[in-house]
């Protein structure tokens, strides 16, 4: 039996996520929550047969028990996530956070999803699109040898960056650089995001620079990077290594491209896919735990 889910936020990410959840074997998207009745996301959700509300998270809360919603995805913004999270957790709903709020622990599936098993967490944070695309590579290097400094540059097409991302661009920078350290394993992390308005829109591009503490073991790092690429490809088939790893002194540089599945926005918007696919994979694992009786959702009082 699939676990019933709600999506909070009917923008680019929420709408793309709906398509992923529709295909999931053990997740069942039931509700889509927005704030604008006429938004494209809510329209698409109604077309897909989901229940919708344009009254924000409050419009959903009264239906949580009757529809047995156990997992909610928050794709609103860092500023409203805190309040959304509080309200959902009071109802015992597990929250997968796709904003850069980072209240809960970071989750980058191929690196640390397994670590979250058995932790009874009620909120996990999916970092950012740039973080999902690059942190696996930082980890691939740091698993071989110590990384003094990890830097990531994420370039996304202007058309794939919604108003929430633009208004709160600092949160991208802070959250991503924090996760480059905490999940990627770099002692110091830095994150840069660039929007490019070229037409036709460019594919998401990501560059990862690691400075290793000692001379890089080229063979071991190359093997580790290729193995990690395969892990990410399991849930984002369009994740590809364009160039590298190249080595220059202690610098290791890796050049990536992320092509999406074209679910909501066209294939160039790999930044949407890598977030929504990672969130789906994370939720599927929690759903397995719930179904197997190993994870019991608890109502947290405020």
């Amino acid at each position: 039996m699939a676990i019933n889910c709600a999506m909070i936020g009917s923008g680019n990410i929420g709408t793309d996520l709906m398509a992923k959840l529709k295909r999931s074997a053990n997740l069942n998207p039931v509700w889509m929550v927005g704030i604008d009745e006429n938004s494209d996301g809510l329209l698409k959700a109604r077309e897909a047969g989901l229940k919708t509300t344009h009254e924000g998270v409050d419009g959903l809360l009264k239906h949580i028990e009757e529809d047995n919603i156990q997992i909610a995805f928050d794709a609103t913004s860092a500023y409203v996530h805190g309040e959304n999270n509080r309200k959902l957790q009071e109802k015992g709903v597990l929250v997968i956070d796709l904003t850069p709020a980072a209240i809960g622990p970071f989750c980058v599936p191929p690196v640390n999803l397994k670590d979250h098993v058995g932790e009874q967490e009620m909120n996990v944070n999916m970092v950012t699109c740039g973080g999902q695309a690059t942190i696996p590579m930082v980890a691939a290097v740091s698993q071989v040898q110590a990384v003094e400094y990890g830097e990531i540059i994420a370039t996304i097409s202007s058309k794939s960056a919604g108003p929430g991302t633009r208004k709160n661009i600092d949160e991208f920078t802070f959250t991503t650089s924090g996760a480059v350290e905490k999940v990627g394993g770099a002692k110091k992390g830095k994150a840069i995001i660039i929007l490019n308005p070229a037409e036709p829109p460019l594919m998401m591009r990501d560059t990862v620079h690691c400075l290793t503490e000692t001379e890089p073991d080229q063979e071991a790092i190359t093997a580790s990077v290729h193995a990690m690429i395969k892990e990410v490809q399991k849930y984002v088939p369009g994740y590809t290594l364009k160039n590298g790893p190249i080595f220059d002194g202690n610098r290791v540089s890796i050049f990536l491209e992320v092509e999406g599945l074209g679910d909501y926005l066209p294939k160039y918007a790999g930044n949407l896919d890598i977030m929504t696919a990672a969130a789906t994979r994370t939720a599927e694992m929690f759903a397995d735990e719930i179904e197997a009786g190993r994870l019991t959702l608890t109502k947290l009082s405020a």
């Binding site: 400094y149 830097e151 540059i153 370039t155 202007s158 108003p163 633009r166 208004k167 709160n168 661009i169 600092d170 991208f172 920078t173 802070f174 830095k190 840069i192 995001i193 660039i194 929007l195 490019n196 308005p197 070229a198 037409e199 460019l202 591009r205 560059t207 620079h209 400075l211 364009k242 160039n243 590298g244 190249i246 220059d248 610098r251 540089s253 050049f255």
Partner: protein, 340 residues
């Protein structure tokens, strides 16, 4: 062109844009010597930061010899009349960096976005205004959008709280008529409420001509750098522009004789190679490519044996924007693969 009696404010960028030319390696003494000499010449605004602004120090753009705080702390207390500005590119620098720079005593924050992406500047422009800074919206690569669209973006920055808007010719691509149309539409829309500025690069040798066109169209702030010390073939060389303005009767407040000496005696000796329009710099202007890509492309040529000119042309074809320095090595590797 009759510009007699116009009064404009010059903004020297040698200690920020010039950082690109030295791989962000100015010493504190270099900065202080040049800034004090510029102050003494009558320059009213001087920008001091890493070439890519606050938060710019990185593998991608190059690590600074010192932190931005160290540079600002060294220069600001030494200024008699000149005010110091800092540059901030949202996505790279953050509000935290802005607060740090404000605490150091900058008077002006320039928040720079690509010319079509002004809405990433909201947090930073609002904070700049809240801190009481002279807050400038800096629309880069202004050749990549049409004047009407540029105005729409400028309006967003004004709505966030910017009191001055720049059309920034980061690639040195614009020709005088292009400057006239861009500055003109901004000036017509905002009147005297909002100052308009122009930042040129000299890759097509248009720095002076474009700056004059900007003044004629209503710009009251003009960027440049002494001896043209800046990315690509440099910025509008300010000692030359000051001399031209002097002959035309434009009041800049800068002493021609003194700024010539700063150019010759202080700026020039600090340049690893004199700023000139070599074929790679000309390619920037010709293909419309971000000027600070120049030295990165030359390095990629050296490391991967692919001509910098070819790399820059390809980046122009791709529509690369400011900040995408990471694509330079990627493009070089791709060209190398094709040739193999």
């Amino acid at each position: 062109m009759d510009l007699k009696g116009k009064k404009i404010r010059l903004h020297d960028n040698a200690l920020r844009d010039g950082m690109h030319s030295v791989g962000h390696q100015f010493t504190l003494d270099d900065m202080v010597r040049m800034a004090t000499a510029l102050d003494d010449s009558g320059m009213s605004l001087i920008e001091v930061t890493h070439g890519d602004g606050l938060g710019g120090s990185s593998v991608n753009y190059g690590f600074g010899l010192h932190t931005n705080k160290e540079y600002l702390d060294a220069v600001i207390p030494k200024m008699k009349n000149a005010k110091i500005s800092a540059l901030l590119l949202p996505g790279l620098g953050t509000v935290e960096d802005l607060i740090m720079a404000a605490d150091c005593g900058i008077s002006t924050i320039r928040v720079a976005t690509h010319c079509t992406e002004a809405d990433v500047s909201e947090q930073h422009i609002k904070k700049g205004r809240e801190l009481g800074l002279d807050t400038v919206g800096f629309l880069m690569m202004a050749h990549m959008t049409q004047p009407e669209a540029l105005l729409e973006q400028a309006q967003k920055m004004v709505d966030y709280g910017a009191n001055c808007i720049y059309a920034t010719d980061s690639a040195g691509y614009l020709l005088p008529d292009d400057v006239t149309s861009r500055i003109g539409i901004l000036h017509d829309a905002f009147g005297d409420d909002i100052e308009i500025g122009f930042h040129g690069h000299h890759n097509m040798a248009m720095g002076i001509a474009n700056s004059l066109a900007a003044v004629e169209a209503g710009a009251s702030r003009i960027d440049g750098s002494v001896a043209g010390f800046g990315a690509g073939a440099g910025n509008t060389p300010l000692e030359v522009f000051v001399a031209v303005c002097d002959r035309m009767g434009i009041d800049t407040g800068v002493d021609v004789d003194k700024i010539m000496d700063v150019a010759e005696d202080i700026a020039l000796p600090l340049m690893p190679t004199p700023t000139r329009i070599d074929r790679d710099a000309l390619t920037l202007g010709y293909a419309g490519v971000y000027s600070s890509f120049l030295l990165h492309a030359k390095r990629a040529e050296k490391n991967h044996g692919v001509p910098a000119k070819d790399i820059l042309m390809e980046l122009g074809r791709m529509g690369a924007v400011g900040g995408q320095e990471d694509m330079i090595e990627d493009v070089a590797l791709n060209i190398k693969k094709k040739l193999a």
